[in-house]
Symmetry: C2
Subunit: 338 residues, 2 copies
C-alpha cells in the first residue's frame, strides 16, 4: 500500500474519489451577488414555504441533496454514507434535513469549516473502501443563525464593521470511487488554534490563525507552496481575516495573496450588499464550492485548488463565560487529474 | 483487498484496530452507583475546580484523554486524529477540552450516540491507513445539560418517570493499528429513524426504534443473531426504551433480552439513586464502555460484544416547534480476537 500519511498531518488518498455530482441552493441575497449564475437554485422566500426558519434550513439541505443526487444520476439507496453538519444547536438543520433519506449518517460539527470536514471524511470513507458513494452536505441560514447566535432579527441590532453575514444556503457533493474527476487527492485535518481573540463579532481574526496553521502544515507536508495551486480558497475569513492570513504568510516570505481567495469575499459584493467583512456560515463555503469552484474546475478554469474552510468553535455560552474563540481549518486538495 | 462492505450497511475492518488504552472519569453520583469500581477517577466536586459547569465538562474531557493516553503509553504527538463530540450547543465541551492538545480533530455530533460514532470513525481511520493512533472521546455533565436542554437546576422542576438522568462523565479510547486487542472488527453506521415520538421526556421511546433498525441491519448483514455475542449493549435507552427494543425483537421471534444490557441501566441503581428510567448523555455510554465493558473484555468476562450507543437528534427549538424526535444508533463490534 502506498504511503497515505505525508509529513505531520496530511493524508494522501491512494485512489482519489471523484465528484459524481454537486449542487447548491441559496437565498435571495446570495442570488443577487456576484456568483448568482453558479447556483442551482435561488429562493426568493426565506421560509421556503415552511413555517419557521429552522425548518426552511432543513428544506435547503433536502433540496441540495436531491439536486446533487440527480446530477450524479444516483438515488439515495446508492449512497452508503452521509457526512453532514450545520451551525444550529444540536445540528438539527442537517439531521432533520436528512431524516427521511434512509442513508446511514455520521453527524459532524466543525462550525463554518464543516464543508471541508464532511468532504474530507467522505473522501477518506470512499478511499478506505468503506463506501462506493458518500455524500457531504452542510447548510446555514441567516435568520436561524442570527436569532440563535446573536439577537432576534426584530431587534434590528447594529453590526460592527468586522462582523460577517451568515449565508443562507446549502451545498451537497457526492464522492464516488470511480469517475472522471475532479478528484479529492489530499486532506489536511486541522488542529484547534486559539490566539486569544474574544470578540465574537470578529470571527475572521479568530479563524485566520487556524487557517494559517493548517495551510502551513499542508504546504510543508507537500513540500509545495501556494504556487502549486491555481487557487487557495479559505472558507469564510472575510476581509479582516483574509488580510491577517495573507500577512502571516507574507511575514514568512510566502506570497499567498496572488493565489488566495475567500468564499466569504466571493459570494457577496461588499460595496453594494452591506455585509461588512463578508459572508460566513457553513453554507457559505458549501455553496461556493458546490457551484462556482467545482463548476470552474469542470470548465478548466482551474485544475488544482486547495479548499480550506474555517470554523470558529465558540458558542454564545462560551462567549458569555469570557472564553476566547478556538478555531479550526481543514484543507482538501481538489484536482482535475489523479 | 478483502470485502469491506457487508450486506446493506455493515463495514468489516480489514485489519481490526486494537484498543491501546481507555479511561473514564465521572461525577459523585456515578461514583456511588454499581459500576463505581470500574471508573478511573470519581470527582466529588461537580465543578472540578472550574468556575462553570461547562468548563467542568471540558475538564472531564481533558482528564479522560490524559488518562487514556497515559494508559496507552502514548503522548498527544503520537495521536494522528481525534474524533470527539458532546451534547452542548456547538459541541464546546469537547472542542474546549481538546483546545490545547494540538491533535488534528474532527468534531462530531451524534447526541448520546457519539461514543459509538467517534469509535467507529476512529476505527475506519486506522483501518484505512489514515492514522496509526486515533482517539475517540465524548462527555456529558448533568448540570450543563439540564440548564441547556431543560430548566435551570435552581428551579427544581419535577421529572416524569420516563425521563433519564444525564451522566456526568467522559470516556476516552485510543485505537492503534497494532496491539493485542480488544479489537474493533465491524461497524454498522445507523440511519435516522423517527417514529413520531414528540415527548422530550421520553427519549428511550424515541431512540428504541433507531436501535432496532441498526441492530436488525447488523444481524442481517452478519447473518448472525444476538447469540453470536456475549453481550449486546445499547447506549442509553433506559428502562422504557430497553423494554421497547426487546419487544420489537421478540415480535420478530428473536431473543435479544438474554444478551441485552443498556449503559443507562448499568451505571445507576434505579432502586436507590432516583434516576427514573436510567442514565443518559454522551458520557453515559462512554464511561461504561471505557471502564466496565473494556475492562471486562480484558479480564475475559466477555469475548465479543456489540456496542450500540443511541442518540436523540432533537434540540429544545425543534421540540418547541412541535417536531418529533429523529434518532440514530451506530453499532460497533468489539472482539478479543481479530
Amino acid at each position: 500500500m502506498a504511503q497515505k500519511r505525508i509529513g505531520k498531518q496530511t493524508l494522501a488518498l491512494q485512489d482519489p474519489p471523484s465528484f459524481a455530482g454537486h449542487a447548491c441552493i441559496v437565498g435571495k441575497k446570495e442570488g443577487e451577488g456576484p456568483l448568482r449564475d453558479s447556483f442551482d437554485f435561488i429562493n426568493a422566500d426565506s421560509f421556503l414555504g415552511e413555517s419557521t426558519w429552522e425548518k426552511a434550513e432543513s428544506a435547503l439541505v433536502r433540496n441540495a441533496v436531491s439536486m446533487a443526487l440527480a446530477k450524479s444520476a444516483l438515488s439515495p439507496t446508492d449512497v452508503n454514507l452521509v457526512f453532514c453538519g450545520d451551525l444550529l444547536n444540536q445540528c438539527t438543520a442537517t439531521s432533520f434535513g436528512m431524516r427521511d433519506s434512509n442513508i446511514p449518517m455520521f453527524g459532524l460539527y466543525g462550525a463554518c469549516s464543516t464543508m471541508s470536514e464532511s468532504l474530507a471524511l467522505a473522501a477518506l470513507a470512499v478511499d478506505g473502501g468503506f463506501a462506493d458513494n458518500a455524500l457531504a452536505v452542510t447548510s446555514s441560514h441567516f435568520c436561524s443563525a442570527e436569532r440563535q447566535f446573536r439577537l432576534p432579527l426584530e431587534y434590528g441590532g447594529q453590526r460592527p464593521p468586522s462582523s460577517q453575514w451568515t449565508v443562507t444556503g446549502s451545498g451537497a457533493a457526492v464522492l464516488s470511487a470511480n469517475g472522471p474527476g475532479p478528484y479529492v487527492t489530499h486532506v489536511t485535518p486541522g488542529r484547534i488554534v486559539d490566539n486569544g481573540v474574544t470578540d465574537a463579532n470578529n470571527m475572521g481574526a479568530a479563524m485566520a490563525p487556524a487557517a494559517y496553521d493548517t495551510l502551513k502544515a499542508h504546504f510543508e507536508d507537500m513540500s509545495q507552496g501556494p504556487d502549486a495551486y491555481d487557487l487557495v480558497v479559505t472558507g469564510d475569513l472575510g476581509a479582516v481575516g483574509s488580510d491577517i492570513l495573507r500577512e502571516f504568510f507574507a511575514a514568512d516570505g510566502v506570497d499567498l495573496a496572488s493565489k488566495h481567495q475567500d468564499c466569504g469575499l466571493l459570494i457577496f459584493d461588499r460595496k453594494t450588499q452591506d455585509v461588512h467583512s463578508g459572508g460566513s456560515g457553513c453554507g457559505c463555503a458549501a455553496s461556493v464550492l458546490c457551484g462556482y469552484l467545482l463548476n470552474g474546475m469542470r470548465e478548466g478554469r482551474w485544475n488544482r485548488i486547495l479548499f480550506a474552510a474555517t470554523g470558529a468553535l465558540l458558542s454564545p455560552t462560551t462567549t458569555m463565560q469570557g472564553e476566547s474563540i478556538p478555531s479550526i481549518c481543514c484543507a482538501v486538495t481538489i484536482c482535475n487529474t489523479k
